[in-house]
């Protein structure tokens, strides 16, 4: 018997996988890296040809300018710069309230789908899903007229209400799946341990379903934070303008310095990005399960 020499095989598969992984990593991260780098550059460096890939004179001026406009910026008089800090606050309030309100409304509905057999449950689920499919553009006009009627233009409430309706169907779908994974016997045990329905929900069911609640809240927070069209229609001053609206103002404002715009963009992306990274696993699971982002 002859021994076959072990041939060294070129690990093609490994090479391909690693090459693609590196290329994709660059594709995903470079665009974002570019505005982050720009946001730390003085205007002159940012417009240099050839471009500076690494800031040569790193500076925080673009960020500090939002709270404390420099003379030059005051001269240019960009309203967007002045409005940025307010809009960040507005976005936090609106997105936070949306997440909360949404959760409260969705918990009850999702609970019914996960625990009760009732007539029309499938139809109702489909109706919720269809609501999610309705393009925002289809409701913005009457919604705008409605809010004008109730003198709610340029208020938090108008935004919170509309974002809650956007996010509600998704939230219900995510929660219904999470709730189904909570064993029924836990609720039975709580009843035997002398809890009424409300107490059972509060002390046992909701704490056990907490991971799902967090995922749903993060989803609706991000939906609200990122939304632009409704905010564009419904807000007009720093009283309620959210960060996407102000960021868009940078784009339409001819005086805008790209570096300041980049800084605003970075500020706008940090909260959703941080949330996405912290809750990566749950969001991925939620997205895959409900196939839910609109």
């Amino acid at each position: 018997m002859t021994t076959v020499p072990l041939r060294y095989r070129i690990p093609w598969k490994k090479i391909v996988v690693y090459t693609l992984a590196v290329l994709f990593a660059l594709y995903l991260v470079l665009p974002f890296y570019w505005i982050v780098a720009m946001s730390f550059m003085p205007e002159a460096d940012a417009t240099a040809v050839p471009p500076q890939w690494i800031p040569e004179h790193p500076t925080l001026d673009n960020y500090l300018g939002f709270v404390n406009p420099s003379d030059a910026q005051a001269l240019v008089g960009s309203r967007a710069v002045e409005e940025t800090p307010y809009s960040l606050l507005n976005s936090f309030v609106v997105a936070g309230s949306t997440a909360l309100l949404n959760l409260v409304l969705a918990i009850f509905a999702a609970y019914s789908f996960s625990r009760i057999k009732f007539r029309g449950s499938q139809l109702l689920l489909i109706l919720y899903l269809i609501t999610r499919m309705v393009p925002g553009i289809a409701i913005i006009i009457p919604y705008y007229l409605l809010m004008r009627e109730f003198r709610l233009l340029d208020t938090y409430l108008a935004l919170i209400l509309s974002y809650t309706t956007f996010a509600l169907p998704i939230t219900i779908w995510i929660l219904k799946d999470f709730f189904r994974s909570v064993p029924r016997e836990l609720e039975d045990a709580a009843r035997v341990d002398r809890c009424g329905w409300f107490r059972t929900m509060w002390s046992v069911f909701l704490p056990v379903a907490a991971p799902g609640l967090v995922a749903a809240a993060v989803f609706s927070f991000m939906t609200a934070w990122n939304e632009f069209m409704f905010a564009l229609f419904l807000t007009s001053t720093k009283a309620a303008k959210t960060i996407p609206v102000v960021a868009a103002n940078f784009a339409t404002d001819f005086n805008t310095q790209y570096t300041v715009m980049a800084a605003a963009g970075v500020l706008a992306v940090i909260p959703p990005l941080v949330l996405a990274l912290i809750f990566q696993r749950k969001l991925v699971a939620g997205m895959a399960a409900g196939s839910v982002k609109g």
């Binding site: 039975d188 009843r191 035997v192």
Partner: protein, 333 residues
Amino acid sequence: MAEVRLEGVTKSFGGNTVVDDLSLTVRDKEFLTLVGPSGCGKSTTLRMICGLERVSAGQIYFDEQPVEYLPANKRDVAMVFQSYALYPHKTVEQNIGFALKMMRVPKDEIARQVREAADTLGIADLLDRRPRELSGGQRQRVALGRAIVREAGAYLLDEPLSNLDAQLRVLMRAEIKRLHVDLARTFIYVTHDQVEAMTMSDRIVVMKDGVVQQCATPQEIYDHPANRFVASFMGSPPMNFMEKDRAVLGIRPEDVSLSPEPREGYRAGKVFITEPLGADVLVTVDLDGDLIKARVAAPFRIGPDNTIHIGFDRAKMHYFSVDDGRAIEGDAN
């Protein structure tokens, strides 16, 4: 403290009747077991006693007080669940003390009672852990602790041992029985395991298809099964049956004797297969086409296909009607 009485209790889901016109009295401080194959309605019955399931018809009384409209949290019961249903976000201590907290027992009193229960069950060193950090046996003890910490009128146990491995199950069987002695309370226990039913209970209720087949002490059920179903379900290995003259003759394997030589009243058959059980040997004998199991003392050294003589203890024979399987009176004795 609590006698539990069911009168004509019926439960149906949709058009499907799961428990049919069940009447039963569980005496105070009794250990009563509901046993039967899966789907016989025993768990549903327990859940109705508990208040987790509403009755479709009939009444349930605790000490003559009607309770069938009360939800579980208003009835004086404690329950051990098959899956244990421990609250995953609470520590062992909080799990056991939760019901007391809901009953607004003062904090230090809760701590004292929880510790007492934990000591009884030997889990005092686990009080700070969470359920996911516990083994199956430890979870089982916590689930028991959650029940015994309360001064409930009735303790309901829904297949509490079915998720344990065989060794632990035997151990816990004895512990639960001892717990019943110590607590001196009404226990209602559900199982599909006839050995548990036989070994633990004061009385057994054998159910099938939502109907009670027999309700009696373990010995009575073993000695005088009310029908063919009870006879075959209770006892391991199950009773042998032979059809004879429009009656079914039943005899338990332990009441069958074997002899290598022909004897008075013995019939000849062939050894089909032998299964040693340690102290005993289970011998299956082919008797004119009927396979009869006999449990005899070891050793047994006759191999398959050899002739063997088989005898039945006349006093222990049972007769059942061919038509409805009911025991025919005046048979064995």
